[in-house]
């Protein structure tokens, strides 16, 4: 009877439940190991690598092969620096792990350190060099905010994908690295290995190769990006956006100062992190898309367009500027104390007359201004293909009522007319506004180039953005005023004009107040810039396009706290815009301009553009 129990049990286990136990036995012995796929590389429009992977060497000890672990660590310590913390960590880990598991003594070895160990390896049993891959950004901080960075996966980012749980795996945390993380990541390969009960690999059974991450091409011109970065370094805190107005390609997007994204791949030291996160200039923030500033006078083209399109003014409407405008019992000051006298639209833009735009805004009304601002790209994120965009703000009656509970005051319309008050815009929005001004189309900026690298001769057909439905005449009038700003005596940015006529730019300066000007200061004269703390100085802004004959490049610059009181962005912002646009045009021949048809349609040849004769010289206009 007992014998029958034995035989019956054997029958039950070995015949009836055989399949179940066979599976369990395989699960025991077969271990699936993930092979990390190489992360996709990122290139600029000409194929310059902006982000790639480089080997990362680390020195490991295999305790069972060392004989004497402490002696081995000491020997390694003689060749390269091994801190007490590293040593203790290894001695702690060895107690918890099997003796055949390699323990990392130090990672991120320099080439020289690696070589020193490599040479000594024959005399150091149990010491070995292991190679991993690490994300590398050859240009360091130059495109940091565009590319973003990768770092170890955090608890919240775990999705159950076992790839994310590998200790060496890095995930995109910002910029393109984050936005395109899925395609850059690729798919993990697997290696089936037979292991024994202690986890030691006995043999490899099968491998399936993974799918390497997809390579990406950006519209960035890295040489241009580098130039802009260096130009911006002249000021403490700057952001600058350069767009190809026809294609919407972001040619460079700089937020200065920046950080070195490579440092994040290996993990930041607390000191570096502390420094980055407490710097008042916010190096970690991409101010070009995530900084929202009152646009100041750079907003005036929008007000002008709204007024012209609504018919509330004509180019010939004259406004008298005595230096202030009174509305009810409030007084609105012009930046120029003595006033501009009688001004028409062209002059008002050229000399940035505040009283003219107070009056124009009053006549046009906030509803029309807000509507035009939205058409020009303000008040909402533009949908750039990296995270971090701020929406900015275009105030409306509804917004005022919803946020403060009180109704809109007409005085606020006047303030909005000069881009102050509640109006907020990002540098990217300002550049986009310029692109929309020169094309008349709803240009949307983008970083990725799905078409891949720029073919020789440039893109065959630039993307056709939808027309904005603004009359070419109104656009032309505004552009004419902006051209005068830079190229005519008395223009606010005449000092920053381009001397080479073929490369001439048009633009609009702006100053955004960080602090209210007190009555005391008005009466007793303003303090000198040098006397004002940096944090309290005005922001200097400049928006520009070039060349004036056939605008292709648009640029927006915001110099934080760089404004001279009353002087606007022309003194600090305009020279940066000029240098950037000139450089962009100098590099242009290599780029080959695609067909300029959209230009011809929106900015009709009959436009009364004040183009200096030299600017229209043959040879510059490519078609």
């Amino acid at each position: 009877m007992l014998g029958a129990a034995i035989v019956g049990r054997m029958y039950q286990l070995q015949i009836l439940q055989k399949d179940r136990y066979a599976v369990l036995a395989d699960e025991n012995r077969i271990n699936l190991r993930l092979l990390v796929p190489p992360r996709g590389r990122i290139y600029d429009r000409f194929g310059v690598p902006l982000a790639d992977n480089k080997p990362n060497y680390r020195v490991v000890v295999i305790p069972e092969q060392t004989g004497d672990l402490e002696a081995a660590l000491a020997a390694v310590g003689k060749l390269i620096e091994v801190t007490e913390a590293d040593r203790n960590r290894v001695l702690r880990e060895v107690r918890r792990k099997h003796s055949f598991v390699p323990l990392v003594v130090r990672s991120n070895l320099s080439w020289e350190e690696m070589a020193r160990i490599e040479v000594a390896v024959p005399e150091l049993p149990g010491v070995a060099i292991e190679q991993g891959m690490i994300r590398h950004y050859p240009y360091g901080p130059v495109a940091a905010h565009i590319l973003g960075y990768v770092a170890a996966v955090s608890e919240q980012e775990l999705t159950g994908d076992p790839l994310l749980e590998l200790p060496d795996f890095r995930i995109g945390k910002s910029g393109i690295e984050k936005a395109q993380d899925r395609s850059l990541r690729g798919a993990a390969g697997t290696s089936q290995v037979e292991v024994n009960a202690y986890g030691r690999v006995v043999r490899e059974i099968a491998t399936t190769p993974g799918q390497p991450g997809q390579d990406l091409v950006l519209g960035i011109d890295m040489a241009m990006q580098d130039f802009v970065t260096r130009r911006c370094a002249a000021e403490p805190s700057v952001s600058c956006v350069l767009l190809d107005a026809l294609t919407g390609d972001v040619l460079s997007l700089v937020s200065s100062p920046a950080f070195d994204p490579s440092a994040f791949s290996t993990g930041l030291t607390p000191a570096v992190w502390q420094e980055l996160s407490t710097d008042p200039r916010n190096p970690l923030t991409d101010k070009a898309i995530g900084g929202a500033y009152p646009p100041g006078s750079t907003f005036k083209p929008v007000v002008a367009l709204a007024a012209l399109e609504s018919g509330s003014i004509t180019p010939d409407t004259a406004v008298s500027c005595p230096g202030y405008l009174e509305l009810g019992d409030a007084t609105f000051h012009c930046w120029k104390k003595g006033g501009h006298g009688g001004v028409r639209l062209r002059d008002a833009i050229k000399r940035s007359c505040d009283v003219y735009f107070y009056e124009t805004a009053r006549r046009t009304g906030i509803d029309r201004i807000a509507e035009m601002a939205k058409r020009m790209g303000f008040g909402a994120p533009l949908g750039l293909d990296i995270p971090g965009e701020r929406p900015g703000l275009i105030p409306t009656r509804d917004w005022k009522l919803a946020t403060t509970g009180s109704p809109w005051q007409q005085g606020e319309t006047l303030i909005a007319g000069i881009g102050q008050g509640s109006v907020l815009a990002t540098p990217l929005q300002l550049a986009t506004m310029a692109a929309r001004l020169v094309t008349g189309r709803a240009v949307v900026p983008h970083l990725l180039r799905p078409a891949g690298r720029l073919p020789p001769g440039g893109d065959a057909v630039p993307p056709a953005f939808a027309p904005l439905g603004i009359s070419p005449r109104s656009l032309g009038l505004v552009l004419e005023g902006m051209t005068a700003v830079v190229n005519e005596q008395g223009g606010t940015a005449y000092a920053a004009r381009v001397n080479e006529p073929a490369l001439a730019m048009g633009g609009k300066s702006g100053t955004s107040q960080v602090r209210r000007i007190s009555q005391h200061e008005r009466e007793h004269g303003l303090r000198k810039v040098s006397e004002i703390p940096w944090k309290e100085r005005d922001h200097a802004l400049f928006v520009a396009f070039a060349p004036i004959g056939a605008p292709r490049y648009v640029c927006a610059v915001v110099v934080e706290h760089g404004g001279e009181t009353g002087g606007g962005g022309s003194a600090v912002g305009a020279p940066i815009c000029r240098d950037v646009l000139v450089e962009a045009q100098r590099r242009d021949p290599a780029r080959k301009v695609p067909q300029a048809e959209p230009m011809a349609q929106t900015i009709a040849p009959d436009l009364p553009l004040a183009i200096p004769a030299a600017a229209a010289s043959p040879g510059f206009r490519r078609g």
Binding site: G3, M10, Y11, Q14, Y21, A25, N28, R29, N196
Partner: protein, 384 residues
């Protein structure tokens, strides 16, 4: 067997007589099972005679001689010295308790330098000898009475208690079960067993409190092996996986993944049957079990042909012991009973178990050889 004359019981047997009367078939069976053991130990060593197979073969060769010697010594000698042997074994068990060598969490061995002696194993034989002698000397009409059961109960319970204290649950169970069966065969009435079982049931809560934690865990684990697959249930779970994945014909010699990748614990000792069944499947397992059954049947046949009660009981005791070894071991590796640490006789790696089993077979063959020798109640031969 025709060579043995009818008057053989009345004169001393010559060595030649004894050798002729030896059950060589049993020796062959034992050698065959041991041979399977060597092969399995070779496999357990990952295809190497080291470290287990070669040493086990040497032990087998060495213990073959004392086995034959035990068979040849006159049965009257064994009858006379039965209590002495029991006494010596008991002293050894006590000695282990006093100053034993601690191995595998339990005090079981006395280190004699050359071999490590496990007195509780010797006790298995000694108890059988003592009980056989006792019931042999007891008139049949007395064996049912309560007061004549007191001594054998002591003979059993004293070593059981000592062995439990070591602690060695497997051996204690074997001593208890083997002793009880021998008492039954010796003529103790069935109702007394019922009374004993009731007493045991009443004492169970007390006994429970004496169990070591790991023994309690094993009992829990037996009841619910899947609750803690990486802890206490690991052994039995892995054993069942190994058995089950072997299937009908097994994975083949040296190809058992569970055993060769070390998932199966103690594959060379307690769990060697699992390894065998993983590599040779249900078919191989049944062949091995058949060999064991043959040995047991052989043992019972020899015992029942003995003319003396001592011989019958000694033979049956050896057979029962062998059966208990095989049954407890195979049942425990299959998860039928808790893991109690009983080796598979003749196959598991280990010295003392081999010695005990071989000496047991020596006694068994002794009974076979001296089956016609009559013993008086006092132990004297009728013609002595």
């Amino acid at each position: 067997m025709t060579s043995l004359s009818p008057d053989i019981g009345r004169r001393s047997l010559t060595v030649a007589d004894k050798l002729r009367g030896m059950h060589w078939g049993l020796v062959l069976l034992v050698a065959a099972i041991s041979g399977i053991g060597f092969v399995m130990l070779y496999s357990a060593g990952n295809g190497s005679w080291q470290p287990w197979a070669s040493r086990q073969m040497a032990r087998f060769a060495v213990t073959l001689v004392p086995m034959l010697a035990v068979a040849l010594i006159d049965v009257r000698y064994w009858h006379r010295s039965a209590y002495w042997i029991y006494g010596v074994a008991l002293i050894l068990v006590v000695a282990v308790d006093l100053r034993g060598f601690v191995g595998m969490g339990a005090q079981r061995w006395i280190d004699l330098g050359v071999i490590q002696l496990q007195p509780s194993e010797i006790m298995k034989i000694a108890l059988v000898l003592a009980l056989a002698r006792y019931f042999h000397g007891l008139p049949a009409e007395h064996s049912g009475r309560l007061r004549y059961v007191v001594l054998p109960v002591f003979l059993i319970l004293v070593p059981v208690a000592l062995v439990l204290k070591q602690p060695d649950l497997g051996t204690a169970i074997m001593l208890l079960a083997g002793g009880a069966i021998l008492c039954f065969l010796g003529g103790v009435r069935l109702w007394l067993f019922g009374a004993g079982a009731l007493a045991a049931a009443a004492a169970a809560p007390i006994a429970w409190s004496f169990l070591r934690d790991y023994q309690k865990t094993r009992l829990y684990t037996f009841l619910e092996p899947d609750t803690d697959p990486l802890g206490a249930g690991y052994h039995i779970m892995q054993s069942k996986i190994a058995l089950g994945s072997g299937g009908l014909f097994g994975k083949g010699f040296l190809l058992g993944t569970q055993s060769h990748l070390s998932f199966l614990p103690e594959k060379q000792t307690d769990f060697i049957f699992t390894m065998f069944a993983e590599e040779y499947g249900l078919v191989g397992g049944l062949v091995l079990l058949t060999l064991y059954v043959l040995v047991i049947v052989y043992a019972f046949a020899i015992a029942l042909r003995s003319r003396s009660q001592f011989g019958r009981l000694l033979g049956l005791g050896v057979g029962v012991n062998f059966f208990l070894y095989a049954f407890i071991n195979t049942a425990m590796v299959m998860g039928l009973i808790p893991v109690v640490g009983v080796p598979l006789p003749l196959i598991s790696y280990g010295g003392t178990a081999m010695v005990t089993v071989m000496l047991g077979f020596g006694l068994l063959m002794n009974i076979g050889v001296h089956r016609d020798v009559r013993l008086s109640r006092a132990g004297e031969s009728h013609l002595g």
